[in-house]
Amino acid sequence: MDTTLLIIQVLNGLQLGLLLFLVASGLTLVFGILDFVNLAHGSLYMLGAFICASLTYALGNFLLAVLVALPLTGLIGWLTERVIARTLYVRDHLDQVLATFGLILVFDTMAHIIWGPQGIAVPLPDWLTGQVSLGGDLLVPTFRLLIIGAGLAAAGGLFWLVNYTRLGMLIRAGASNRTMVGALGIDIQLLFSLVFALGAMLAGLAGMLIAPITEASIGMGNSIIITAFVVIIVGGIGSIKGAFIAALLIGLIDTLGRAFLDDLFSLFMSSAAAENSAPALSAMLIYLIMALVLALKPQGLFPPKVR
């Protein structure tokens, strides 16, 4: 295995990990503060991609489209909280899971009605389609670097928001004791709506960033949501730090497993056997790691202190 390939795969893993973090951080925020399981979070990821695709064609510029699509997905999150989620906070998790499952069917069919059954490709401006040399013969697509940069920026922004602003202070306070926060005169309903909208925007951003590579398609949210669940289970539900570390871990392990497991296996078995068993194992790898983490630490790697 050569170093160039290794570096490229590590960058790919980093990219997947950061996208996973954008999806998982919203999930874990909403769960940590609202005690609400939102299966439809993946739909917000999909809607972000579709809205951004339409706007890219309407406005003629991908970056402009992202800027306009972000508040729009936030608005959809806000409305979802107002209309559906709010009545479910007092219910048990089973009801929340079923109702948001219904919401997925609604969102997916709406996307089908509005954008049709085909996926929509998202064109990039010329300066983003090229490749950047990172020294030697190491060429990396510019857009992938942009995804990594945007993901890191969003993660940094979130850390700043949660740890150093008044809103973040309220969010952390709401996570440890929402009744007390309400009693201190904070509009807890407004705080909940804001957190939900923030989660929607983060998931939407992930969808917008991946759309130029995979294109926007119906059901794209349905597979990433499970991986995002794995991330927050491994990281500890409710912990943003845990979600960040687990997302990078899962992203890297999944990508590197798929790329190099057969090479690794062929060191100690015949190459035919390695070729047969490596894809099966690499498909299961992140779930096996989840099982291992749970067997050792049932609350995840970084369980939030107050719960």
């Binding site: 769960f31 899971v97 079923l98 069917l105 609604v106 989840m290 749970l294 067997a295």
Partner: protein, 317 residues
């Protein structure tokens, strides 16, 4: 007899008489619809054992259905194309125990991990393990991967010829009766009492000296194995199996059947399966966007119909 017992009897008698009557009068389609319905009802009944009575919200039951179906498909594949001589057979003496055994084993291994956790963790982990099996099957090219696997010949059983639609339906219906009886027997036994006690107040059951983890795990394995059996029937019914059968949407649909019909009631899951399949059939004949009203119905059911249809129609216990 109570109102609910009458309702149970009525649903089962209708299922026993109506679909064969349609078939004999030349409407084969309704029998095939009913066969799918009854098979999914068995899966829903098995889910009800742990979800309704045990309080374990498993969002991964479709994986058991899929594994059960592949336990029929893989031996049938090798019987036709060679390889894996120990498995290569169409005999039900191998396929059915394999379906039940492999799903029981999968339930045991995942249950050991899942049941260490509670609440929302449990929901997500069962979902993740089901997705693991989904990706595992997708990655195995020999069995068709994403494209699925055609079952060329159905399971050969004693007494039943599964190539005959009426006999296949008879087997499925009888299996449903056995499944209902089995769950009822389990629920009313000492074991079932402990299981329900552990749902209501786990601390009290633990302090009474019961190892609730072991009881839950046993129920989880029984439920998984029953669901695997339903999967074996489904494979024989569709004669085409694919990873899509274990998509987590299928798990969600099974949960919906249980909740719609009424969790922790005998007939609830069957009623839920009936409503689900009939509604799906009617809506999808009107519009390709049938999932929209379906999703709205799901939301409305969760928000407003407490206790499901069995609670609505049969009154509270």
């Amino acid at each position: 007899m109570t109102r609910r017992a009458w309702m149970t009897l009525a649903v089962l008698v209708l299922l026993a008489i109506v679909p064969p009557a349609f078939y004999l009068s030349g409407n084969a389609f309704y029998l095939s619809l009913a066969t799918r319905l009854v098979i999914l009802a068995i899966a829903a009944v098995s889910l009800n054992l742990i979800l309704g009575y045990g309080g374990m919200v498993s969002f991964g039951h479709a994986a058991f259905v899929g594994l059960g179906a592949y336990a029929v498909g893989i031996p049938a594949h090798h019987a036709l194309y060679g390889g894996w001589d120990a498995l290569a057979t169409n005999s039900g003496w191998l396929q059915i125990p394999l379906a039940v055994g492999i799903t029981a084993l999968f339930a045991l291994l995942t249950g050991l991990v899942c049941l260490r956790t509670k609440g929302v963790y449990f929901i997500m982990i069962t979902m993740a393990f089901a997705q693991m099996i989904y990706y595992l099957i997708v990655s195995i090219e020999e069995y068709g991967g994403d494209d699925g696997l055609v079952i060329d010949s159905r399971t050969e059983l004693w007494l039943f010829d599964l190539d005959k639609p009426l006999q296949l339906y008879a087997l499925c219906f009888l299996s449903l009766l056995v499944a209902l009886g089995l769950v009822r027997m389990i629920v009313n036994s000492r074991f079932g009492m402990v299981l329900q006690g552990a749902k209501g107040n786990p601390e009290r059951m633990a302090s009474l000296g019961f190892n609730t983890y072991a009881y839950r795990l046993t129920a989880y394995v029984i439920s998984g194995a029953m669901c695997g059996y339903a999967g074996a029937l489904l494979g024989n019914f569709t004669t085409f199996i694919s990873p899509e059968m274990m998509d987590w949407h299928r798990s969600g649909e099974l949960m919906f059947m249980v909740i719609l019909g009424g969790a922790a009631t005998t007939i609830g899951p069957v009623l839920g399966a009936v409503i689900f399949i009939v509604l799906e059939e009617i809506l999808s004949s009107y519009t390709i966007y049938w999932q929209l009203p379906f999703g709205l119905l799901l939301i409305v059911t969760v928000l407003f119909v407490r206790g499901g249809l069995a609670g609505l129609l049969g009154g509270r216990k």
